[in-house]
Symmetry: C2
Subunit: 345 residues, 2 copies
């Protein structure tokens, strides 16, 4: 099935509604940046690179919504929109990165009026979206040497086309290995609470014809102990300058299991996800989400009424547990404070 | 709310239906041992000590169902029932232990006719059920020194009254600490796939007034890294002679996280759960259950149609990750091959 995560057409942004996959393929259309910001918060669209592109297109919507005639008038409206969009999710750096990149582009002194700013903003948002597939394919190529023939790979959350604009990050690495004929098998962490693995990754792997088995998150260590597991590969929502990596809750738990078994644990990371302003991972803000994401599955409440629930959406994996960080510019190895800096533009 | 897990009355066994808790409190009544065996398989009743008692009462049902007049005639019918009951679940040793204990009791040469065998079998089943609360309270007392004042404790699966006949094993340890005024807080792993933590443990802790917070299984390591966690305590389905412990899937994963953080990981284990015939944990049979337990939650299928799913119900935690094994006869420390043998009757 052909599908897309995010697309601009006729002055609006269309998103596949990731909350109803895999059983329903539904697209929602946004022509208001505030509604799009809410869609990001509600996880209609999720995945660090995808919300980076969504943030950029949100700025394009805001520019289009601006009634200002002058360049500075549009910029004032964009400044408000940038705050709203940035606040939609706190952990992934890509959201702010996409918004900021468009924002900087809107500052060019050569933009003489509001229409010119609007055009420049949309052009930059398109550029961000278009770069994504190229970057992801480059990560896939760069990772090929890390994936043995016949590898069994554990993957957490969803990092495919649905988490990006095209091709995927960690799932792009897996896809590239598959396309190179490596005959891989993916153990798919279901990824509680929102089940991105069971719902989205299983669906994408099915479309791609890549062999896979869904497991509960707690079974990963058992799989490592009782069968051959060659590697883990995950995406990331923000990587600090020292390589500490924020990603979906459960990632750190998985990394500890891999470490205990001597299994390499890789992070696929477009360089836009590296936050060089943060020295280490404890500075990354961790989003605490609605307890109902844990308590309620498919409309049914599982826990007793009144149960206290903790729902951190992300965790931080210290760099010491990460064997390599795969980027579009190359594969970084420890010590990351040097190797990541070397990849910086 | 007063509730019970298993009770014999008027020649039948009543079980609380653990599949519909916490939202519905329903008891099911069994007067046929084959139906009871199916209820064990279907996890109407679960938890190693509880299915030990259920197996014993299943033998009592079978004795009552036997039409034989002679002692040997009843014994022949019991031999058939023992096979059926033992096969209901493969991993927990308690099921076979309860069945065997009743079976041995039925062999006594002094039992002169079928009625005498029937009476002896029921008496032994009652004895097994009645011992349970006493054993669990003793484990709780023996563990008190291991639980610091104000401790935060991670618990996996359900090990309370619902997993036993009375009081609980690991949850009994927690309960004893609470009753001793230790002001504890329990982080409750929801325990996918069947969510015994979210559904059953949260419900039992609520009844007991013990502070708790439910988390997804993948969040345990994050909790260890970002807040004070003092210890983990879990139950077990079978412990090998060297201390290797089979317990609900996700236990080993949790033990690895505890190990990485230097947090003691304890197993609460009635000595009936120790299988001295198995030298190590890799000899413990691991039940693979219906993939629909992972795919379907609350009647809704989460995964795409046709998705392959792995659903091992248990994992094995090597003894090296276990700080102590708490039994009703005392607390065993490594090396377990010696300390467990010393606890053997």
């Amino acid at each position: 099935m052909d599908y897309y995560t995010i697309r601009w057409s006729d002055g609006a942004v269309s998103l596949i509604d990731q909350r109803v996959l895999p059983h329903e393929v539904r697209y929602l259309r946004y022509d208001d940046y505030r509604a799009l910001a809410q869609a990001i918060t509600d996880m209609v669209v999720r995945g660090a690179p995808a919300i980076g592109a969504a943030g950029a297109y949100g700025m394009a919507l805001a520019a289009g919504q601006s009634m200002a005639a002058t360049a500075d008038g549009v910029r004032q409206d964009l400044a408000v929109a940038a705050e709203v969009l940035r606040a939609a999710r706190p952990t992934a750096v890509n959201l702010g990165w996409g918004v900021d990149r468009v924002w900087r582009c809107a500052q060019a002194a050569t933009l003489s009026d509001g229409a010119a700013v609007r055009a420049a903003v949309l052009t930059e948002a398109h550029a961000i979206a278009e770069e994504d597939g190229r970057i992801n394919r480059a990560m896939g190529r760069n990772a090929l040497d890390l994936i043995p023939q016949g590898a069994t790979i554990i993957h957490h959350c969803n990092t495919g086309t649905l988490a990006t604009v095209e091709y995927g990050t960690a799932l792009g690495v897996i896809r590239a290995a598959h396309e190179a004929g490596k005959n891989i098998h993916v153990l798919v962490d279901e990824t509680r609470p929102r089940l991105q693995g069971a719902r989205l990754t299983a669906w994408e792997l099915q479309q791609l014809g890549i062999a896979h088995t869904v497991i509960v998150d707690g079974a990963a260590a058992h799989m490592m102990r009782t069968r051959k597991v060659d590697l883990c590969v995950v995406g990331c929502d923000r990587v600090a300058a020292n390589g500490d990596t924020a990603n979906k809750i459960g990632t750190y738990h998985l990394a500890l299991a891999a470490h205990a078994h001597g299994i390499p644990f890789y992070v696929a990371c477009p360089t836009s996800t590296i936050d060089f302003t943060l020295a280490h991972g404890d500075l990354i803000p961790i989003e605490e989400r609605d307890p109902r994401e844990v308590a309620v599955v498919a409309g049914t409440q599982l826990t007793p009424d009144g149960t206290a629930i903790g729902n951190p959406a992300f965790d931080v994996t210290p760099a010491g547990y990460i064997a390599a960080i795969i980027t579009e510019r190359g594969v970084a190895r420890p010590p990351y404070v040097d190797s990541l800096a070397a990849l910086r533009e």
